[in-house]
């Protein structure tokens, strides 16, 4: 599929989908979204790119091999789960930090839960891309 229109469109779409996937990831805690959905959207972005421009270009754009992304994501999730052990508590208990919190405002909430979700995002995206790229290269 070497259509010029598709290629030009794909570049735009990939950028949009990636930004959107991160948006979905970050808002997941309060609105529909989350790491799983974000990862899927991110994967779709690169799949579109791979269909339009070929897997080798998609791999280049991704820079890191997808199977490595999946493993890194798994590691991040594990570490975030173990953070609770270091800070006291059972593993995989969410740890929260409210930066600049006052009596009425809760400030900027940062949590190990978000880190965990980022790990989920990377695993889903990496695993799917590993599979899709391999499958397309096979054909």
């Amino acid at each position: 599929m070497k259509s010029v229109i598709l290629r030009a469109g794909a570049r735009l779409l990939v950028a949009l989908l990636l930004v959107f996937s991160i948006f979905m990831l970050l808002r997941g805690h309060n609105e529909p979204g989350g790491g799983f959905i974000g990862g899927l959207i991110g994967a779709v972005g690169f799949v579109v790119y791979a269909i339009a421009c070929g897997t080798s270009e998609a791999r280049e754009a991704l820079r890191v091999p997808p199977e490595k992304i999946a493993m890194i994501g798994l590691g991040i999730s594990l570490i975030s789960g173990m953070m609770a052990l270091v800070l006291g508590g059972s593993p995989f208990t969410g740890q929260w930090l409210f930066i600049g919190a006052t009596e009425t405002e809760k400030g900027l909430p940062l949590s190990s839960v978000l880190v965990f979700d980022i790990g989920v995002y990377l695993v889903v995206m990496g695993a799917i891309l590993a599979l899709v790229f391999a499958l397309e290269e096979e054909v």
């Binding site: 805690h29 979204g33 989350g34 999946a70 994501g73 594990l78 889903v124 990496g126 599979l131 096979e138």
Partner: protein
């Protein structure tokens, strides 16, 4: 002890370290158990306990009494000597360190077996000895023969282990505890329990397979495929005696019945007599020793059958005697093999000049084995006759069996320890030379101990044999005395007869061997029977694989869904769970649209001949399902569903490009049948969904998560909060599966590409 110098390479140095550290561990453990000699000799029993799986009532409890101490000292003492021997015997072997790892693992497992006071803990160690024995028999894994022997030993002892586990569970159920020390106190109750017979049979299956009693004896001679130190250690001195240990340990609980008495008597006597005939028929040193080990195991079983002090004392004494001389002789067989290159007795002879120390050690061990005074073997033999004449079953038959076996033992001792050294000349592949000290230490020490204990039998009588007899009989039987000279009595006369008969048979050995070989050729061959048994398993397996694993996708789908239809549909009808169709509220336009979309998508899949169209149809069904999620307020699930659906269509489309196009009716010979089947499945699934949704729903979890999600986890999206916070461990498991699945698929696909060059990223 300085590290060995003969391994010059750096790898050799680390290997030698592995050997020496094993020797040091075994010696340290021996010293540790040595400490217990005093208290045990004084009649104490040591017990240690710490909880392991408290919810199942399993604790790591260990008990040291006369019986376990005897075993523990044999295991660690002979272990240390065998390991020392192996540092030389296997020097330079590519898997030297691995060998010591296995050997040490075995030693620890075996110690666990003989010191556990909890039956379940004992079982775990019991199985570990089977596994380490498997690894050691198959140590030379490049030979098909050792692999077969290893597997055979594992399967026979493993099957017995399973029987033992069943027996342990039954016994634990009958006694209300798995602690041996508590079970021992309720022997009478167990013997009258309705489950006594099944328990006994299962325990004996475990013990007989492990200790190679007839008809499970065939694996032991095959186990000689292992390196000789292993044969000396596992398959004569320790592991094969685990079954004996079990019978001795269970003696207070399970013995004193007619079934026990006769089963053990018959199995023990037939094993002993059969094995001693087979022993003198062999020509390979290790095979002769293997069969004499069988004879010893049979004799021990025979004496554990009875419930009299003389018999149990005979068993305890013979246990020690046998371990000492047999380990020594096995190690000597290894020395002979090592320095001459053969173990065939017909090719060996006149080695005494080249190997004086080995010859002396062999002579001492063999004299003990043949039962000459003043060796411990003589005392053991006297006690055996006294014990045989005291048994409750058939004293004369038992005594005759023991006499015959002992006379043949003398022949075997002559074959192993005199013929290779004295008679004739040798024509061996290598020029014989004396072994180095590390290989001589074991046989010499063990042989000398046989003489020392014979001259001063109190050394083992007080701290080991007497407490051992007390442990086996729960303190009810009086141990017999260990004496070299007990006056002229029947045992002494029988000893004389044994020696006379043995010497005569030794002279008649060659014609006897021919006769025995002739008989053996006509006997049912257990080993071949075993192969036939395994082959029949394979036949059944391939038959059922042909039926169930046809390799045809359609059949698999049919099987899976037919099971679902029968199991679930059948249950629905059987339980009468179908509550009738609920009232359907008026449907809005959007409901109709979604329903029609799903139905149309499904219909398209069933009629189209194009794979791409079928995939698109399935995609439409998926989108319909996603719409349902949106209508009922589950946007997260809907988004996920949509995205997954999209990706699946893409993946399928990519894969489908490689498949041939379908022609009408291609591969689907029975479309009408398919239609009926599919409709039935759909109906059953629909019925289940309707039944489930019309029933009352428990909303407590929903309420909890709605509350806690904001207050405790600071998130308003309940689905995501559950995923990443409340059930984060589950999610972690799931993403691990996703990652592994993705990588597995990737590597499978990678493996198929014809491109031999790995891409740059992977090469790093």
């Amino acid at each position: 002890m300085a590290p060995s110098q003969d391994n010059a390479s750096p790898q050799g140095a680390s290997q030698a370290f592995a050997g020496w550290i094993s020797v040091a561990l075994a010696s340290a453990l021996f010293a540790l158990f040595w400490q217990a000699l005093g208290p045990i000799g004084a009649g104490e029993v040591l017990r240690f306990e710490r909880p392991w799986v408290p919810s199942l009532g399993i604790s790591l409890s260990f008990l040291i009494d006369g019986l376990s101490l005897t075993f523990a000292l044999l295991i660690t003492g002979i272990g240390a000597l065998v390991m020392l021997y192996s540092t030389k015997y296997l020097a330079g072997h590519p898997h030297f360190a691995r060998f010591f790892l296995f050997l040490t693992l075995f030693m620890m497992s075996m110690l666990g077996v003989v010191t556990s006071d909890n039956l379940l803990t004992l079982f775990v160690f019991w199985e570990l000895t089977s596994i380490t024995s498997y690894l050691l028999i198959g140590f030379s894994h490049s030979g098909a023969d050792s692999r077969r022997s290893a597997l055979q030993a594992l399967l026979v002892t493993g099957a017995g282990g399973l029987a033992l586990l069943a027996g342990i569970i039954l016994l634990g159920w009958a006694a209300g505890t798995y602690e041996l020390s508590e079970i021992r106190a309720q022997g009478d109750a167990i013997r009258e329990h309705a489950l006594y017979l099944p328990i006994l049979i299962l325990f004996l299956l475990g013990a007989f397979t492990k200790s190679a009693q007839m008809p499970f004896h065939f694996w032991l001679p095959n186990a000689m495929a292992a390196p000789t130190p292993v044969s000396a250690y596992l398959h004569s001195a320790t592991m094969v005696k685990a079954g004996i240990y079990l019978m001795a340990r269970m003696h207070p609980t399970l013995a004193e019945t007619d079934v026990w008495l006769w089963t053990l008597t018959i199995a023990g006597a037939s094993t002993a007599v059969f094995a001693s005939f087979m022993a003198v028929r062999q020509t390979d040193l290790k095979q002769i020793l293997a069969y004499t080990t069988l004879m010893a195991l049979g004799t021990l079983t025979l004496f554990l059958a009875a419930d009299v002090g003389y018999a149990i004392t005979a068993a305890m004494t013979f246990l020690i005697v046998h371990s000492l001389y047999k380990a020594a002789l096995f190690l000597i067989a290894g020395i002979i093999d090592h320095s001459t290159g053969t173990r065939e007795i017909d090719r060996l002879g006149g080695l005494a000049r080249a190997m004086p120390i080995t010859t002396a050690a062999a002579a001492l061990a063999a004299l003990s084995m043949a039962g000459f005074p003043p060796f411990l073997g003589f005392i053991g033999k006297e006690l055996k006759y006294a014990g045989a004449l005291a048994v409750q079953s058939e004293p004369y038959l038992v005594a005759a069996a023991v006499l015959l076996a002992n006379a043949l033992m003398l022949v075997a001792a002559g074959l192993v320890a005199f013929r290779p050294f004295w008679r004739g000349t040798h024509s061996t592949p290598k020029t014989p030379h004396e072994a180095p000290w590390r290989m001589l230490a074991g046989p010499v020490i063990l042989a000398l101990l046989g003489a020392l204990f014979g001259l001063n039998s109190d050394l083992i009588a007080v701290p080991l044999v007497e407490p051992g007899v007390k442990a086996i009989s729960a303190g009810e039987l009086k141990p017999a005395e260990l004496k070299l000279w007990a006056g002229v009595n029947i045992p002494l006369i029988l000893s004389g007869v044994t020696i006379a008969l043995g010497v005569v048979l030794l002279f008649l050995h060659n014609p006897m061997r021919k006769i025995l070989a002739g008989i053996e050729a006509r006997m049912p061959w257990f080993d071949r029977g075993w192969d036939n048994l395994l082959d029949s398993f394979k036949t059944v397996a391939s038959w059922q694989t042909r039926i169930l694993q046809s390799g045809e996708m359609r059949r698999y789908v049919y099987t899976v869904f037919a099971t679902l239809l029968i199991a679930v549909g059948g249950t629905l009808i059987y339980k009468g769970a179908w509550a009738g169709l609920p009232a359907i509220p008026d449907l809005e336009v959007k409901h109709w649209v979604v329903t029609l979309l799903i139905v149309a998508g499904t219909a398209l899949v069933t009629v189209t001949n194009s794979r791409i169209t079928a995939i698109a149809g399935l995609g439409a069904v998926g989108i319909g399902v996603a719409l349902i999620f949106i209508i009922y307020g589950a946007p997260d699930v809907a988004i996920t569903q949509l995205l997954v659906e999209t990706l699946v269509v893409v993946l399928f489309a990519v894969a489908a490009l490689r498949l041939p196009t379908l022609k009408p009716g291609d591969g689907f010979p029975n479309r009408k049948l398919d239609a009926v089947f599919a409709t039935a499945i759909g109906a059953v699934v629909a019925a289940i969904l309707i039944t489930v949704t019309t029933g009352p729903i428990d909303l407590r979890l929903t309420a909890f998560f709605e509350q806690a999600s904001w207050l405790e986890a600071y998130g308003r999206n309940v689905v995501n909060v559950i995923l990443v916070d409340f059930r984060a461990l589950d999610t972690f498991g799931e993403i691990a599966v996703v990652a592994v699945a993705g990588i597995a698929a990737w590597s499978l696909l990678k493996g198929q590409t014809s491109d031999p060059e790995p891409d740059g990223e992977d090469a790093k």
